[in-house]
């Protein structure tokens, strides 16, 4: 079986309902489970671990534009919860899976470097429901 590999060019990203795809050049959903050491004294000396909390977020790098700042800054300033979605290749393939969560934007750090494209890191943290994935085909 071959897999449908592709070069990422057409991901779809929305913040609070608005399509902001063209403002981002990287976007993703890091998700990590902590590993808790619950090893006790034993004759064997074996280590024992349990899965701990799950840390999820949306993370990306955006180009700083006035249009994007108009959307993101009020949400960040007021710590407003809003829906954020990410659909890999979604601009050209509406059937693709959608990652979505009700999030609070936790990092919005615009900055400029002389002679370089204005980019900044973007981080949004989901509520207790986490980031869900749907629309699998």
């Amino acid at each position: 079986m071959t897999y449908t590999k592709l070069i990422a060019h057409s991901d779809k990203i929305t913040i609070d309902g608005t399509d902001v795809s063209n403002s981002f050049r990287t976007f993703g959903r890091p998700s990590e489970d902590s590993r808790e050491d619950v090893s006790g004294f034993s004759a064997t000396g074996n280590d024992e671990f349990l899965p701990g909390t799950r840390d999820q977020r949306f993370e990306g790098e955006a180009f700083y534009t006035e249009e994007l700042a108009l959307i993101v800054e009020p949400l960040y300033k007021n710590r407003t919860t809003c829906t954020i979605t990410w659909q890999p290749n979604g601009l050209v393939d509406a059937t693709r899976e959608i990652y979505s969560g009700t999030c609070t934007i936790s990092e919005f750090s615009p900055s400029n470097t002389r002679g370089s494209a204005s980019v900044f890191p973007f981080v949004a943290l989901p509520d207790a429901n986490g980031i869900q994935v749907g629309n699998w085909t």
Binding site: G17, P74, T83
Partner: protein
């Protein structure tokens, strides 16, 4: 809440999957609606309240004849049949 809105996408970007210039019907929670309007992404064309009329009847001919209001058997008719 039994209301929904008719919205027009007036911004340059797609809103909730609707292309700029298009009109759509949706139930958007008020704070999100307000933010989108303030950003200039959409405008509210009309707010529609869903109501049910106080007097409701089935359309003429919709029910089988014996169940139509003016042909339904009365209690007297049922007695006669016995």
């Amino acid at each position: 809440m039994n209301t929904y809105g008719v919205y027009k996408v007036i911004g340059k970007r797609e809103y909730r999957g609707h292309a700029p210039g298009s009109t759509f019907e949706a139930r958007i929670d008020r704070p999100a609606e307000q933010r989108a309007i303030e950003r200039g992404d959409i405008e509210l064309v009309q707010r529609v309240e869903i109501t049910v009329p106080a007097q409701r009847t089935f359309p003429q001919g919709w029910l089988p004849p014996m169940l139509e209001p003016d042909t339904a058997p009365t209690s007297e008719a049922k007695e006669d049949r016995k």
